[in-house]
C-alpha cells in the first residue's frame, strides 16, 4: 500500500473581492480572508492522483492556529484524505522555515501510526510567504530525496520508484525539462502547472467514486482530524517556534520609490485628437526596425 502525505498551508485569499489592500498597496491582512493556498491545492490534486492510480492512502498535515482546520477541510475535499493532522501549539508561533520544518518532520513521521509515508507532496511555495524553503528543509530533515519543480510523475509500485518530469529555468538560459528517476521515499514540490489527468474510463470512474467519498467524509471532519501539540509530536521546545528559529524579522518598511529620470507627459484621452501623437509613436516603434 502506497502512503502519501500532503503538506498544506492556510494563506490569504488573493481572489478579487476577498483580498484587501491598504491604500499604500500593501496587503491588509486583517481584512483579507484565508483559504487553502492555491499551490497547496495543486499538491492535493497530486495526492488524489496517487489515490486514483495507485490506491494510495492520503494524510494531510498543516502547522497553524486552530482556524487552519478550514484549510484541512478544503484539502480533504480535493484529496479524499483518510487522515487530517493539525499541528497546533502556542510554542510553534513565530517559527521561521527551519523551525517549521522541524514540526512538519515529526508530524509526517507520525502519520498513519508512524514511518509509513512514501511520498510527501507540497506546493512549490506559499503565496504570502513565498520562501519556498519549508518543503526542501522538511525533506532534508526527514532524509527523503527532494524533487523540486515537478510537473508530472508516475510511480512504479513494484520497484518502489518514482519517475518525474521537472522544469529547470535559469536566468537567461534555455528552459529544460528533465526526466528523472528516484527510489521512494521522496519529497516532491509540485509546480503550479501540474494537472492530474485521468485517461481511462476506469480511472475516471474511480476518481468520481473517491470524490463522492470525499464529500461524505467532510460532513464529519472531526472523525479524521487529529490535533497534535508539541508534546504529542515529541518536539524539543528549543527547536521550534521562536527559540528554534535562526532568523528574525528585524524591520518592515515601505520600499522607497525607484529613482527616475523620466518626466511624463500627461495625455487626456477624452479628446481623440490628443491621442494622435501617441498613435504615431506606437506605429513608428512597432513597425520600425
Amino acid at each position: 500500500m502506497l502512503h502519501v502525505a500532503v503538506i498544506i498551508k492556510l494563506e490569504p485569499d488573493f481572489s478579487e473581492g476577498n483580498v484587501s489592500y491598504n491604500s499604500d498597496g500593501t496587503l491588509n491582512r486583517a481584512e483579507t480572508k484565508n483559504i487553502l493556498g492555491p499551490h497547496s491545492a495543486v499538491a492535493c490534486n497530486a495526492a488524489f492522483y496517487c489515490k486514483v492510480r495507485y490506491g494510495a492512502q492520503v494524510s494531510v498535515g498543516t502547522m497553524g492556529p486552530p482556524i487552519a482546520e478550514s484549510a484541512l477541510k478544503q484539502a480533504q475535499i480535493l484529496s479524499d484524505a483518510e487522515e487530517l493532522n493539525l499541528y497546533s501549539d502556542r510554542m510553534f508561533a513565530g517559527a521561521d522555515t527551519l523551525a517549521t520544518a522541524e514540526v512538519l518532520k515529526n508530524g509526517i513521521e507520525k502519520m498513519f501510526g508512524g514511518n509509513k509515508i512514501d511520498i510527501v507532496f507540497s506546493g512549490h511555495r506559499a503565496s504570502d510567504g513565498e520562501t519556498g524553503q519549508t518543503g526542501p528543509q522538511t525533506a532534508w530533515k526527514l532524509g527523503y530525496t527532494f524533487l523540486g519543480n515537478v510537473i508530472d510523475f508516475e510511480i512504479d509500485l513494484e520497484r518502489k520508484v518514482v519517475f518525474a518530469k521537472r522544469v529547470i529555468s535559469l536566468q537567461g538560459m534555455d528552459t529544460i525539462i528533465e526526466e528523472i528517476e528516484s527510489p521512494l521515499p521522496v519529497f516532491i514540490t509540485i509546480d503550479p502547472s501540474y494537472r492530474s489527468i485521468f485517461n481511462t474510463v476506469s480511472q475516471r470512474l474511480a476518481a468520481n467514486n473517491f470524490r463522492k467519498e470525499a464529500s461524505k467524509r467532510i460532513e464529519d471532519t472531526g472523525q479524521y482530524l487529529k490535533i497534535l501539540d508539541g508534546k504529542k509530536l515529541e518536539l524539543d521546545p528549543k527547536l521550534v517556534g521562536l527559540p528554534g528559529s535562526p532568523t528574525i524579522v528585524y524591520r518592515v518598511e515601505k520600499i522607497p520609490r525607484a529613482k527616475t529620470n523620466r518626466k511624463a507627459e500627461i495625455v487626456d484621452p477624452s479628446n481623440v485628437n490628443n491621442l494622435a501623437p501617441v498613435i504615431e509613436k506606437l506605429i513608428q516603434i512597432s513597425r520600425g526596425k
Binding site: F14, S15, V19, G25, T26, T97, L98, S127, E130, T131, G132, Q133, Q137, A139, W140, T145, F146, L147, N149, V167, L170, Q171, M173, I176, I177, E178, E179, I180, E181, S182, P192, L242, P243, S245, P246, T247, I248, V249, Y250, V252, E253, K254, I255, R257, A258, T260, R262, A264, V267, P269, V272, L275, A276, V278, E280, K281, L282, I283, I285, S286
Partner: protein, 409 residues
C-alpha cells in the same frame, strides 16, 4: 584594484573568530556561468571590501562550483571578484542534483583544511563560513534550503539588498529581553509579493543563556538581476583549489533525459511589451480581451504584474492558463525586460515591477490615478480608464495601419 591589504601578521592578531568569509555558490549551464552567479560575486566583492576596511581584516570571497569540466570556469570567477575558487569536478556532478550537491557543499563549508589554502592565518580557528549566498532560482532556492537545514542555520530567500552592520538587538528569545550588541550581521532585505514592503531578515545567534546556540553561516538566496557584477578584470589574482569529496556517495536521483523546451514567451526579442495589472479588476475577462486585441495589433508580447500570477480572478480556462502564470510576470520575481516600447496598463508601478521594466526605451502608461508610482517611470501617461482608452488606441492604430498599407500598395 582597491582592497585593504593586510599582512598576515596583522590579521593574526584577531584570529579568534570561528566564522570567516563569504561563500558564493556558483551555478552554470552548458559551460556558461549563470548571470546571477556573477551578480552575487559582484555584491560579495563590494561587501567584503568594505568589511575588510571597517573591521581591519582579510576575509575572502570564496566561490564554490560543482560540475564536470568546470576547471575552465574558475579563472572567470576570479576575474569577476572571487579571491578563491573551490571546485569539485566529477561526472556525477555534471547536472545539479539536490542530494549530492547539498552533501558536497556542506562538506566544503565545514572543511577546515581548505582554509590552509584560502586563508592560512585563520587555519586554527575557522569552523564555518560567515555568510553564504545562493541564487533564488529553480536550483539555488532548494539547494540553499537543504544546505542550511544540514548546517542548522538561518536562511532568507529572495533578497535584493544586503548591508553588513553591527546592531543592538533586544529580543524576547534571542537575548532574553536584554539589549545585546551583535557584530558583522548581514541585513537581508526582502521585498514582499506586493512590491511595496521590504522586510529585513537577520540570522542571529541565540545569546539567551537558556537556549544558547550559534547560527552560522548567515545564508540568503539572491534574486537574479538584483545586483550588478563588477567589471571583468582579467588581471585579478586568486587561488583555485580542487576539492575531492570524501566518502563519495552517489546521488539517488538518476537523470534519464534532458530536453530544451521552446520558450512560449520570449521577452528578449520582443520590441514591444504590453503589461497589465490589477486595474483590469472591474471586468477581467473582457479587459484582458481588450488588451489582447491591442497587443496583437501592435505585435507586442504580453506581461503581467506579480499579484496577477496569484490568480485573483475567476476567468475562463483559456485566459487563465495563458496569462495568469508566473512565466509572464515582469519584475524582480519574474523577467527583466528592456523593449523599445513598454505599455503599462492598469498597473500601479510597485518597485518590484518597475525594476523589471525601467530599462525600456519608451514607456507609455494607461492609468486613472496620476499619483500612482508608474507615472515616474512613464514618458507618456494617458489618464483614463483602460476600458475606454485601450479600445480607442486599438481602433486608431488599426485605422492608421490600414492607411499606411493602402499608401504603400
Amino acid at each position: 584594484m582597491k582592497m585593504s591589504k593586510l599582512t598576515s601578521e596583522d590579521a593574526k592578531s584577531k584570529t579568534d573568530e570561528k566564522y570567516r568569509h563569504i561563500y558564493v555558490i556558483i551555478e552554470h549551464f552548458e559551460g556558461r556561468v549563470v548571470p546571477v552567479s556573477l551578480e552575487m560575486l559582484g555584491e560579495a566583492r563590494r561587501l567584503m571590501d568594505d568589511f575588510n576596511q571597517k573591521y581591519d581584516s582579510a576575509e575572502k570571497v570564496v566561490a564554490l562550483v560543482l560540475g564536470s569540466n568546470v576547471r575552465s570556469l574558475c579563472e572567470e570567477l576570479v576575474n569577476y571578484g572571487a579571491d578563491s575558487v573551490v571546485y569539485a569536478n566529477h561526472d556525477e556532478l555534471k547536472y545539479p542534483r539536490n542530494d549530492i550537491d547539498t552533501r558536497i557543499i556542506v562538506q566544503i563549508a565545514k572543511d577546515t583544511q581548505l582554509i590552509k589554502e584560502i586563508s592560512p592565518e585563520y587555519l586554527n580557528t575557522f569552523a564555518r563560513p560567515r555568510y553564504m549566498f545562493f541564487a533564488a532560482d529553480n536550483i539555488g532556492r532548494h539547494l540553499s534550503s537543504t544546505v542550511l537545514a544540514e548546517l542548522e542555520s538561518g536562511l532568507a530567500s529572495d533578497i535584493n539588498k544586503l548591508v553588513i552592520s553591527d546592531l543592538d538587538i533586544r529580543h524576547e528569545h534571542k537575548t532574553k529581553g536584554k539589549t545585546v550588541r551583535y557584530e558583522k550581521i548581514l541585513e537581508m532585505y526582502r521585498p514582499d509579493f506586493s512590491g511595496f514592503l521590504w522586510t529585513t531578515i537577520l540570522c542571529l545567534d541565540n545569546k539567551n543563556p537558556e537556549i544558547l546556540r550559534e547560527y552560522h553561516p548567515q545564508g540568503c538566496s539572491i534574486i537574479p538581476g538584483a545586483f550588478k557584477p563588477i567589471d571583468r578584470d582579467s588581471s585579478r589574482k586568486g587561488t583555485v583549489i580542487e576539492y575531492s569529496p570524501e566518502g563519495y556517495q552517489r546521488s539517488k536521483i538518476k537523470i534519464l533525459n534532458r530536453k530544451v523546451v521552446e520558450k512560449t514567451i520570449d521577452y528578449d526579442t520582443s520590441k514591444v511589451i504590453v503589461s497589465f495589472g490589477r486595474g483590469i479588476k472591474d471586468n477581467p475577462e473582457q479587459n484582458i480581451r481588450l488588451i489582447e486585441d491591442f497587443a496583437e495589433t501592435l505585435g507586442a508580447a504580453i506581461g503581467i504584474t506579480l499579484p496577477l500570477s496569484k490568480k485573483p480572478y475567476q476567468l475562463s480556462q483559456t485566459l487563465d492558463s495563458k496569462y495568469m502564470i508566473p512565466d509572464r510576470v515582469i519584475g524582480t520575481s519574474g523577467s527583466k525586460v528592456a523593449p523599445s516600447l513598454y505599455v503599462a496598463i492598469g498597473l500601479s508601478g510597485a518597485v518590484q515591477h518597475v525594476a523589471g521594466m525601467k530599462e525600456s526605451d519608451i514607456v507609455i502608461s494607461v492609468n486613472t490615478d496620476e499619483n500612482s508610482p508608474i507615472i515616474d517611470e512613464s514618458d507618456i501617461f494617458i489618464k483614463g480608464k483602460l476600458e475606454e482608452v485601450v479600445p480607442l488606441l486599438t481602433e486608431q492604430l488599426k485605422k492608421q495601419i490600414q492607411a499606411i498599407s493602402i499608401r504603400s500598395n
